[in-house]
């Protein structure tokens, strides 16, 4: 679902219905002994249960994906008959400075979508645990989470107004005597991309905080008690107990937010349309432009596939990194 849009993503860390963090390995495995024949017969019939979902998925995700692969080898305007061009579209993706820079921007956004929110969320979650204030924790949870559930496109509108010349950001800066740095943030090529990135921070911070808070709740309290008795301070406890205990939740946070950064569309599309100049162009918006405005379906498909490959190339190693020992 994180792949569907920037918000309302998977919250299984929060509402993981029943499974404890790590289901015993045995449960994940098909029973080792040979299954009884009666069971097997029933198994094949079981596909009747899986078929409708598999069909919907095949028709509306896998088929377009396959078509995307096909299109990427053609030059097609969406209307007339396409011409086969081999790898030309891919060569373009890797040589066209504009397309390359959009990919680079997507990676830059990871700082704001992932690194900053996860770091701050870790601190906040750790501190909330220390405070043991139920009320404050609950309030924080509510406020922090709202940005994650509103449509990302709406978040972009809220922030466009924040960043405007007469907007709240400049107002705040003036109040603290920083009038010299006020500007139209989306109009400044040096600042537009970080400004867009901060919207991502805003959206992801609450989600990560809550996920990590629930993770901390699952860490054995006696570990913390023992650390206290040893006289460990906040940061020592944090390093020795909290971080390792949250390995898995951090993994989930990082994975989801990295995908959101690399595949960002809604925010940029609504906030800056890729401007000023090309300074906030990201592959998602570029694919939309190539595919629907310029009707260069082949190039759009090639770019989208390269983006997908990059996402996998980033995500798979991360999975290894966060897999529980």
């Amino acid at each position: 679902m994180s792949t569907l849009d920037g918000s309302g993503g998977p919250l299984q860390g929060l509402t993981r219905p029943t499974p404890a963090p790590a289901a015993p390995a045995g449960q994940e495995q098909v029973p080792a002994q040979a299954p009884r024949p009666r069971r097997r017969r029933k198994n094949w019939g079981g596909w009747l249960f899986a078929a409708p979902a598999a069909l919907m998925y095949a028709v509306f995700v896998l088929r377009p994906l396959a078509a995307s692969i096909q299109y990427s080898f053609y030059d097609w305007d969406g209307i007339t008959v396409a011409t086969f061009v081999g790898l030309e579209n891919y060569v373009r993706v890797f040589t066209d400075p504009q397309l390359l820079s959009s990919i680079w921007h997507a990676f830059f956004l990871i700082i704001f979508f992932t690194v900053v929110p996860v770091t701050v969320a870790l601190l906040v979650a750790g501190l909330i645990r220390e405070l043991r204030s139920k009320g404050l924790g609950r309030l924080a949870q509510t406020l922090l989470f709202i940005p994650y559930v509103i449509p990302a496109a709406a978040a972009a509108i809220a922030w466009s107004w924040m960043y405007a010349t007469t907007g709240a950001v400049n107002q705040l800066l003036s109040v603290v005597g920083l009038e010299s740095v006020t500007r139209a943030w989306f109009g400044d090529p040096a600042w537009a991309l970080p400004a867009v990135g901060l919207i991502g921070t805003w959206i992801n911070l609450g989600f990560c905080t809550i996920l990590l808070m629930s993770g901390i709740g699952k860490i054995d309290v006696s570990l913390y008690e023992a650390a206290k008795l040893d006289g460990a301070g906040f940061f020592q406890t944090f390093r020795a107990i909290t971080l390792p205990g949250l390995r898995q939740e951090i993994g989930v946070c990082v994975t989801i937010t990295v995908i959101a950064a690399l595949a960002s569309f809604d925010i940029v599309f609504m906030a800056t349309q890729g401007g000023p100049g090309y300074s906030t162009m990201v592959p998602g918006v570029q694919v939309y432009r190539l595919g629907f405005t310029e009707s260069r379906i082949g190039l759009a498909s090639a770019l989208a596939l390269v983006l997908s490959a990059l996402v996998l190339a980033v995500i798979l190693p991360l999975q290894r990194l966060f897999r529980e020992k």
Partner: protein
């Protein structure tokens, strides 16, 4: 989701991955054997060039659909009302998308199984070349459309190679946009401007005066590319209306990457450096700029007739309009293109009625409707009535002057589908100082040739 990723048993996952890979490879193989995309979709040629045409609508009920941008809805609905009063047996249903969405969806809508009967088309070359539009030559003969001014007719023609300005007629416009400089009369008085500037020197003098007086000389919302308005006004005079139109119409070998064009762009860059545009122009959109001009922040606001109604309402007598002042020895020229350049899709099943609607656009009644909506009228005849002295009246006068001088220039952003983005992004960079006039023109020309496959 991902915690399941995290807790997968690696060995088992690897095996499954291999299996999935195998399946994927097989699927790819199957793909390679497919027909190319888009095969078997072109409409028959007979649909695209009818020979049996009739100008008689009869009295059988006819249902038409019209497809246009949402910004033009009020005008279109008024036209539809006027037309269906004359022809009660015809019903026309309007379908509207946001203007930019309409522009980009038009080719696909025209190619769909159930196209509208009347549709605004901006990017005319490709769709005409692809046989998606009705060749209107037979109707032009029947209705006598050759009486229209040649400068207007050129905007309706496309030849077999997709070059516009010549060849068969495919469209007819209901009216035209007009661009020029809006000015704030109070502020004009402050900088000693008693009448609109007549030369480029006068104009630049006023810009400097305004800047000295602490008034923003030129309002522009360049987040949506509004600096392009003043930029193209300079280009029009640097290259001439005809050669710019040829460029937009894809004439063979046309280029915009010339020293004269670079000079025009350099002027804009100098204006930006001199602080003639608002400091935050790249962070302001067109609607924001309009609001700020109306609020009295700037002396000039280069824009089009589409802003006239709002400015009239908000500024009343305090707003004026003039065409960009021409350099010595030149006739005035400015951007002015069809409001709705209506075509009849090849797949329409009520072409006679649709053509009758197109012909109606030349009538006095339709011209008055279009003028009331703030556009300049199609065809020729009496200038329709406007409120004396209003900014709308000034715009109509300017348009009459423009047609007289044959100075209607197409918007350079409309040359190809992808160029709007390129021009606007490059204009943002020009204002920032991130690019030079030469590099900007090179980027635009490269994109242009790339899109045309040259």
């Amino acid at each position: 989701m991902t915690d399941h990723l995290v807790t997968q048993d690696p060995a088992r996952l690897a095996r499954t991955r291999l299996r999935a890979l195998g399946a994927g490879a097989a699927a790819l193989f199957a793909l390679a054997a497919c027909a190319p995309p888009g095969a078997g979709s072109a409409p028959a040629a007979s649909e695209a060039a009818p020979t049996e045409v009739s100008t008689d609508l009869g009295d059988e009920p006819v249902e038409l659909t019209l497809y246009d941008g949402a910004g033009l809805k009020a005008k279109d609905e008024a036209l539809i009302r006027a037309f269906t009063e004359r022809h009660p047996n015809v019903t026309i249903t309007g379908r509207y998308d946001p203007d930019d969405v309409q522009a980009q969806n038009a080719p696909r809508v025209l190619a769909s199984d159930d196209p509208p009967d009347i549709a605004r088309v901006i990017a005319l070359s490709d769709v005409a070349e692809d046989g998606l539009l009705t060749d209107l030559d037979a109707y032009a003969d029947a209705y006598g459309w050759d009486e229209l001014p040649e400068g207007q007719l050129a905007q309706y023609r496309v030849n077999e190679d997709g070059v516009r300005g010549e060849g068969s007629q495919y469209t007819l416009a209901d009216g035209f946009t007009v661009t020029g400089f809006y000015y704030n009369k109070d502020l004009a008085e402050k900088v000693g401007m008693s009448a609109p500037p007549r030369t480029m020197e006068e104009l630049e003098g006023l810009l400097a005066e305004a800047e000295d007086a602490g008034i923003v000389p030129i309002m522009a919302g360049n987040q949506t590319g509004q600096v392009m308005t003043s930029t193209q006004m300079m280009l029009n005079y640097a290259l001439g209306a005809e050669s710019l139109n040829e460029w937009v119409f894809h004439a063979p070998g046309a280029t915009i990457d010339t020293p004269e064009a670079a000079e025009a762009l350099a002027r804009i860059r100098d204006w930006a450096e001199a602080g003639y545009y608002p400091e935050d122009t790249n962070g302001t959109d067109a609607t924001g700029a309009l609001g700020r001009f109306a609020a009295g922040e700037a002396l000039f606001y280069p824009s089009g007739n589409w802003d006239a109604a709002a400015l009239d309402e908000q500024m009343g007598d305090n707003v004026g309009f003039f065409l960009p002042p021409a350099p010595d020895g030149q006739e005035p020229a400015t951007m002015s293109d069809p409001a709705s350049n209506f075509a009849i899709p090849a797949g329409s099943d009520a072409k006679d009625a649709a053509a009758a609607f197109l012909d109606f656009l030349r009538s006095e009644e339709a011209r008055q409707v279009v003028v009331d909506a703030g556009f300049a009228p199609s065809g020729e005849g009496e200038v329709p009535a406007t409120e004396q002295g209003s900014v709308t009246a000034q715009i109509q006068e300017a348009f009459a002057q423009l047609v007289e001088a044959d100075g209607q220039v197409q918007f350079v952003q409309n040359a190809t589908n992808g160029l709007t983005t390129t021009w606007n992004s490059e204009a943002q960079r020009l204002v920032d100082g991130a690019t030079t006039p030469e590099d900007m023109l090179d980027a635009v020309q490269t994109k242009y040739e790339d899109e045309l496959g040259r």
